[in-house]
């Protein structure tokens, strides 16, 4: 029955313990709406046919609503609405109150990617592994603007706000891969800020976790590129890049933005929009600054302005040197991302 309703209403599968609760109320509300809506539509049509001008007496019947009917107009819908409100609020409180034994996961939203970190384990970008049948508490925060963690199959959504943690919990009931979307508008690539929740059987999850602890997946480290590791020319390049506004479109931490990231760019084989590919060497980097539309990397809009005449030869060299210095290393697993503050004094 529920599955049929789900199919009719285009709902995704119910993959969390919250989903059937939400769906049940959903069906109740939609069912009532359709019954009453059909009633109203049919009544309107019936009136239209029955009381069409010419059929009914032209003289207005003296008629006004009796008070009890006025009260019913207000009272009956109100009773329904409040019932739904109460049922929904019960589930809402349930969904926002994590059980004590929940597994903590720290979720960081960032333009335009999701990062996940376990208290004891490595971080992941774009894929969240969770065990089935275990409550998982998410502590969400954002590095820049507001994002929203949304897994349709779990019927679960919570905003990730910069500068604070919000929390929500869920329990996946079936192994599988579930789509994770950003539901709060967050800029250019809002619609591509997608990730995946991979629910594993508890045993499979444990072995995955053990494997990860032994051999952490690579994560771009924010603190990469400290002053000490760079030569003077590269440092100058960093200054030039800041001054010329390169970072409006290019990142140095591996995140794709309006333009390709500079992290690991030097020496990389880049596919071009024209279908060819090019090796990002000194020549290509210099050409890109002077005539950026000549060879555009696939997947990026041809929006880069030309810096011909705006950069001196020395500055170009410094920039190239700086990009060269941005090579990924295999960093330590990120430190545990605990909220770094205690309860507020009240």
């Amino acid at each position: 029955m529920s599955d049929l309703m789900r199919r009719i209403l285009f709902l995704p599968e119910a993959a969390s313990s919250l989903a059937p609760r939400v769906d049940r109320l959903h069906f109740f509300i939609i069912g009532t709406t359709f019954v009453v809506g059909a009633g109203i539509g049919l009544t309107g049509l019936f009136f239209l046919v029955r009381y069409r001008r010419g059929r009914a007496p032209a003289q207005e019947p003296a008629m006004a609503a009796p008070t009890w009917m006025e009260a019913a107009f207000a009272g009956v819908p109100l009773a329904f609405f409040l019932l739904w409100g109460a049922l929904g609020f019960q589930d809402y409180v349930w969904a926002r109150t994590p059980p004590r034994d929940a597994l903590d996961v720290y979720v960081t939203g960032k333009q335009w990617m999701w990062k996940f970190a376990y208290p004891d384990g490595p971080g992941m970008v774009g894929v969240l592994h969770v065990p089935t049948g275990t409550p998982v508490r998410l502590l969400l925060t954002s590095r820049d603007v507001i994002h929203s963690f949304y897994v349709p199959a779990f019927r679960l959504k919570m905003d990730a706000l910069p500068g604070r943690y919000t929390e929500i919990w869920f329990e996946a009931v079936r192994p599988g891969r579930y789509r994770l979307l950003c539901a709060e508008y967050c800029g250019l690539d809002h619609s591509r800020m997608r990730a995946e929740v991979v629910a594993l059987e508890p045993a499979a999850f444990e072995s995955w976790r053990a494997r990860q602890l032994a051999q952490p997946t690579w994560v771009a480290d924010e603190s990469f590129g400290e002053e000490g590791t760079r030569g003077p020319l590269a440092r100058r390049g960093a200054v030039v890049a800041t001054r010329q506004g390169c970072f409006q479109c290019h990142t140095i931490d591996g995140t794709p933005h309006i333009g390709p990231t500079w992290l690991g760019l030097y020496g990389r084989e880049e596919p071009l929009a024209s279908g060819d590919s090019v090796r990002a060497d000194v020549a290509y980097l210099t050409e890109s600054m002077m005539d950026p539309l000549a060879k555009v990397v696939a997947g990026y809009a041809p929006v880069m302005p030309s810096f011909h005449g705006r950069l001196s030869a020395g500055e170009v060299g410094a920039l190239v040197e700086y990009i060269k210095s941005l090579q990924p290393e295999r960093p330590e697993p990120p430190p545990v991302q605990e909220p770094a503050y205690g309860p507020l004094p009240r």
Partner: protein, 121 residues
Amino acid sequence: MRGGVQVLAVGAVLLALATLSFGLSKLHLGAWAVPVALGIALCKAVLIAFFFMHLAERPGGPRLVIGTAGVFVGILVGLVLAEAAARAWPTLPPGPFPVSRLPGTERSGPPRAAPPWLPLP
């Protein structure tokens, strides 16, 4: 001339109330300081509205309007405060907290220095 006397009398009360506010602030009433100060301010506002802003002469529309406005101010402040006060730890912001900007818009936040037209010592 009766109106003039009334204005002066109300004015005297207003000045007295202002002095009272100031005096009470020296006593450090703790948790009561804000409600008491706002209460006195409200008294002053009512006096001004009724006697200086001619509300006493104009029942009906104007009283309704300003009363409604007061109610809505109460709703706005009250509901926002009620919601924020009920937020569970850790959702209240703990204070200045580093937030990374859009790449490249670091400069969109103005510098921690005075703008050119406001010379610092």
